[in-house]
Amino acid sequence: MANQAKAAKKKDHFTPTQNPGGKPHKKALGIIVRFGANLFLPLACTFGGYVVLHGDSSPGGGFQGGVLIASAVLLVFLGYGTQKLSTTFKTSFLHNTETVAELMYIAIGLIGILVGLNFAVNFVIDTFHLETAVLMNGAVGYHVMAGIGCLLIMMLGLLGTSESTAPTNPGEKTKMAEITEAERKEVGSDDEL
């Protein structure tokens, strides 16, 4: 029940950019929303990058910065709608590079073991004047950015089409395992509305 309410709330939130049927409608997008999206998109990305890069020495870090950058997805959706979203971002690329970022994190952590110290130990690579903590933060930042971005694209994509095609077709196994269960339930209850 709570989920349905939540999903309904989310829909209300997006009604300015969508007609009640939930289908993307280009004419309905307001110029103010688009201007706002244009204005805040570079700001969000820049600030996110700043938080990621300074994660080892100041509050914040890879996770927080990654989420900030991923908010770009939301801004594109708000300003330009679902169709632009699918042409702007390539989900498969994001997904694969996200996996690479995860592997990078573990690999950098394993460097510590290879040089005879502990896992995830922080040391400076002299030739580049680079700490491994910065690299690990970067990996986390990219991973969170790509992960949350993928999640948002999937959720918003389903939000736009939930009335026309049922997202949880019982006959076929959808690619839903990638989405965490929370989103799945939201989608499922969305379907029932």
């Binding site: 694969n96 996996t99 690479v100 995860e102 592997l103 573990i106 952590g109 394993l110 510590g112 073991i113 110290l117 502990n118 896992f119 995830a120 130990v121 922080n122 949880t168 019982p170 006959g171 076929e172 196994k173 959808t174 690619k175 839903m176 395992a177 990638e178 965490t180 269960e181 929370a182 799945r184 339930k185 499922g188």
Partner: protein, 640 residues
């Protein structure tokens, strides 16, 4: 050597990510990656056996080299003592078996790459949980574990109720995670540390209300993860729809995390298991769990739902034994924990094989499969004998230890409560045997329905992992002395010796010790096997040499009508005539569900009550969870 634990955890996580990258293009490459990751983790855990179990070392490891300074632990640490490694071995062996089984079992499903990624993340998180020495780290691992398990439960989302079962698991599992988080936060606010070794050093000297509350929260949190009494409906709903290999993981591995958490909590961190109140709490939870779940299992008509209730019932045994607070009790609990993983995994995999071949798990619809799947049937009988505690299998050995621990406790304390515990444990074991007779009759014996005429035995690649489990069941049952000496005693010693746990991590010099205990009576599984055979021969001789003839005619007693279909038995039903009339009927199929109809009829009020209690509504289950939490907190505040 000290890097082995982190490498084992990271091997599983790396396997998950590499599989996600490569498995999308080629499933074969993905499977090889998954197999290598599982094998590395298993080998690393096996390599830790000599130093930890035989030499008694405790392996400590600080992430990033952040060793403690001036007695304060800042960094995140891993600490592997014999208890952690014991559970680590259970986890890695179960993961290996489950993964190898999945290669064939899941071969026809799509999006397998997601399945194996989630599967390895689940495995890695569970292994990280049991090896971790940091309470907040344990919470993080619990979260990863819960969410990947929820997603895997709903993996076959074309099954009826898959999403529903997963949703219930998500909601009530989150209540458990929340409890662990709150407990951790309360401890951190009081002691300013998250390191478990430091907590073990500080907690026993401090006793205030907030810490008692923290104990209550953590206990309920881990009890949720073990699906103890008010949480058992989740397990039933989740198991019934999950793939069989995931059922193995949930019953054999995830519940063990709860057991591990409770042992660490009561023996390591708070060290309050010596107080009678905590013993009543833990043993009482275990006792209620094992009795309620075994009677619920009686009423099930779905193979895997029935197994799920039995699984929780056996976890109840483990918790009961652990709550006794004696060295014998902990050893018995640990022994039953590993046995539970083996025989319950075996039974779930057999259920998966039956489902794989016939496409059904309905106990009322199946029948006579021993003719079509004789090898699977043999494996099922091994599992059923193990879980029911028949010698010479492992269930007998560990249940015997549990009874002895209860007897010893009752004798020492002179407390009637422990006599009752022992009686409940015995009755539960009998009921377990009875309901496995029912399953055997429903699935493997009786008449073969015509639609299953061209069913074959499952592929050898699926049977091989089950054989491994069956062999381990028999080995542990025949040589219990071996596992007691080399595994149980060091692990029990590690559980009881909290000082060593704290000192080793923080740089002290207290050496770990092995616990010692004596069993009350002489016993040998082989003697019991001989006894069993003699009794079987005697019964057979009597049955064969008896006079051929009809039983005396009995008038069917009129039965009171009841409101429940599966309990209420209409006396005019033709299939019960062999019980009453003695007339020779041409064919009368006695369904497995009807074997114990008299028992069910007499207890119909009890069964109806629990039937209504398991309403299937997630709001109710969440309410039960919250009520249990409130009750435990109140109990802790009043008595602990």
């Amino acid at each position: 050597m000290s890097n082995f634990p982190i490498l084992a955890v990271m091997a599983l996580f790396m396997g998950a990510f590499i599989n996600s990258l490569t498995g999308r293009r080629s499933r074969r490459v993905g499977n090889i990656v998954v197999f290598i990751a599982m094998a590395i983790a298993l080998c690393l855990m096996l390599a830790l056996i000599p130093p930890v179990f035989i030499e008694g070392q405790v392996i400590t490891y600080w992430m990033g080299g952040w060793a403690p300074e001036a007695g304060w632990a800042y960094g995140i640490g891993l600490e592997v003592d014999a208890l952690s490694l014991f559970f680590g071995l259970i986890v890695t062996i179960a993961v290996m078996v489950s993964g190898v089984y999945s290669f064939t079992y899941m071969a026809k499903d799509d999006s397998q790459v997601n399945f194996y990624t989630l599967f390895l993340m689940l495995s890695g998180s569970v292994l990280g949980l049991v090896l971790s020495g940091d309470l907040f780290n344990i919470f993080v691992m619990v979260e990863i574990m819960t969410f990947s398990a929820v997603a895997l439960t709903a993996f076959r989302n074309d099954y009826e109720g898959a999403l529903e079962g997963a949703f219930k698991y998500l909601v009530v599992g989150s209540i458990g995670s929340m409890c662990i988080l709150v407990g951790t936060a309360l401890i951190y606010a009081n002691l300013h540390t998250l390191n478990m070794a430091q907590m073990a050093a500080m907690l026993p000297t401090q006793h205030n209300t907030v810490l008692v509350l923290a104990f209550g929260f953590l206990f309920v949190g881990f009890a949720t993860k073990a699906f103890l009494f008010p949480f058992q409906p989740l397990a039933a709903d989740a198991h019934a729809v999950a793939p069989a290999s995931i059922s193995l993981m949930i019953s054999g591995v995830l519940t063990k995390c709860g057991v591990y958490g409770i042992i660490r909590l009561c023996y390591g961190l708070f060290q309050n298991i010596d107080t009678a109140a905590v013993q009543y709490l833990v043993t009482g939870f275990g006792c209620v769990t094992m009795f309620v779940c075994v009677t619920m299992a009686f009423n099930q008509h779905n193979f895997k739902r029935l197994l799920a209730f039995h699984s929780i019932s056996q976890v109840g045994y483990v918790i009961t034994a652990v709550g006794l607070g004696s060295a014998l009790g902990v050893s018995a609990g640990l022994f039953h924990a590993v046995n539970h993983t083996l025989f319950k995994g075996l039974l779930f995999l057999v259920a998966g094989a039956v489902q794989h071949e016939t496409g059904s798990l309905d106990l009322d619809g199946l029948g006579g499969l021993s003719k079509k799947m004789p090898r699977t049937c043999l494996l099922f009988l091994v599992g059923a004998a193990s879980i029911s505690g028949l010698p010479p299998f492992n269930g007998f050995a560990s249940k015997w230890m549990i009874y002895q621990a209860c007897f010893a406790k009752a004798g020492e304390s002179g407390n009637f409560f422990y006599v009752l515990v022992c009686v409940v444990a015995l009755i539960t074991s009998v009921l377990t045997l009875a309901s496995f007779v029912k399953v055997a009759q429903s699935v493997f014996y009786g008449q073969l329905p015509a639609r299953y005429n061209d069913v074959h035995d499952c592929p050898a690649a699926m049977r091989a992992p089950i054989w491994v489990l069956a062999a381990l069941c028999a080995l542990l049952g025949v040589f219990p002395g071996f596992i007691t000496r080399f595994f149980l005693k060091p692990a029990t010693g590690a559980a009881l010796d909290a000082t060593a746990y704290a000192d080793q991590m923080l740089g002290g010099s207290h050496a770990a010790s092995a616990a010692d205990f004596q069993l009350l009576g002489n016993w040998s599984p082989l003697v019991w096997v001989v006894l069993l055979l003699v009794v079987c021969c005697a019964v057979t001789i009597v049955a064969v040499s008896a006079k051929k003839g009809m039983a005396p005619v009995l008038e069917p007693a009129p039965l009171a009508p009841t409101d429940r279909e599966d309990v209420c038995v209409a006396p005019e039903n033709a299939k019960y005539e062999p019980f009453f009339s003695g007339e020779e009927s041409e064919y009368s199929q006695v369904g497995g569900s009807d074997l114990f109809w008299g028992f069910k009829e007499n207890w119909r009020k009890y069964f109806s009550f629990w039937h209504r209690w398991h309403s299937g509504i997630v709001n109710d289950y969440a309410l039960y969870g919250v009520v249990a939490l409130a009750a435990v907190l109140l109990y802790c505040l009043l008595f602990v």
